[in-house]
Amino acid sequence: MSVLRRVDTWMFAPAPAERLAVLRILTGLVVVGYLVVRYPAFLSLTDASPSRFEPVGVLSWLDRPFPDPLYAVLIVANVGCGVAFVTGLWFRWIGPIFALLLLVVTTYRSSWGQLLYFENLMVIHVAIIGLGRSADALVPGRRKRSAQPPISSRYGWPVRLAAVVTVLTYVLAGIAKLRVGGSDWMTGDTLRNHVAYSAARIGLLGGSYSPLARPLAENGWVLAPVAVATVLIELVAPVALLGGRIRTAWVAATWLLHLGIAATMFVVFPYPLLGVAFAPLFRAERVVDRRRGEPGLRTPGTR
């Protein structure tokens, strides 16, 4: 079998509808929670000076900020659609609308002179799930009316695509470190300096910084192997697509990396820290199968 054929077979392997549906529920819950918790931060943009407005991405055509009431309505509508997204009701419409609203709301938040990197993967995942057949299972009342959908590649490929996007973003982050920082990123004091910079920046701007920053700045040698490990974890991310223990080991290492960033720099990436960024790498339907007492369906690469 040619490599291309193998890739095609892997990407379009059949999966149960529950796998994509569980991903829909997990992603939707995290996004709704994120929007609600960060609502004040999103809404604070209505008080920002228009001179700071520098639209990016799909909003780069804007020549001025949204009217304040419109932006507030977009955020609230995004939360409302997110709740419907989680339930799976009216998904043919809600899926794309939720994905579009999330793209607009988060792009707008990154359009004030500072690109934020906490939301990228979440937005791309929601687009993939929102445009897929993600509500053919685990929808309230649906089971009474229709039979269980058969396993199909139509439920498998959006999950696989989301998995590929997850690992690709980490590879890109690793490449960026080598391209921008060069080998110094791994061999020098760069990571210690990043930890110290985060503390100094927060402190000089009047915030509270991590209590771990000082001992790490004093003992920079501790971070030297962590710097090498960080770049390696990012560059070898595609091994997670192989499934099994190597995937689980990579996910655990990456999650610890995010935990370390949160603990030492007070920079929280909620989507991976809550584990949902990695959910496409697993047979997510096992969550519901366990509740029903059924074994999960095993498909290639999802051991």
């Binding site: 095609d8 920002a48 991405g57 939301e119 791309i124 993939i128 470190k177 020098g188 300096n193 100094a200």
Partner: protein, 141 residues
Amino acid sequence: MAEDPGWFRRLVVVCVIAAVALPAVRDRDSFPLSTYPVYASARGRVATINTAVGYDAAGTMHRLSLSAIADTDDPLIAESAVARAVATGRADELCKEIARRTSSAVTRIEVVEERHDIVAWTIGDESLRGRTVHAECEAGP
């Protein structure tokens, strides 16, 4: 027999993967398609940080809060807001905005660029290597 996913789904897969990878090829960062350059720089020990500080009537300096400086709880956004204001010649405008958001104990605001040995700062040693005041304004009632 395995079902054929069809050309459309294959095209979607190729386009999404290409779109996610493209910023790295073009070296152009945006949102949500990004080069993911966060913490990518080889950072040195000395760094410049733009901020704002307040002084009370006795002339004692006070660090202002993130919300006072940029109406945010995110240091990335606050730093960016001050740096942009300085770079675009709007430090005076920002200074007045901060003055409106600060408590009555502060009587004067400075928008400043401070150069620190960040490792020394974190350890608690003397760290200031340079300081430039970009704007100054009165605060309080």
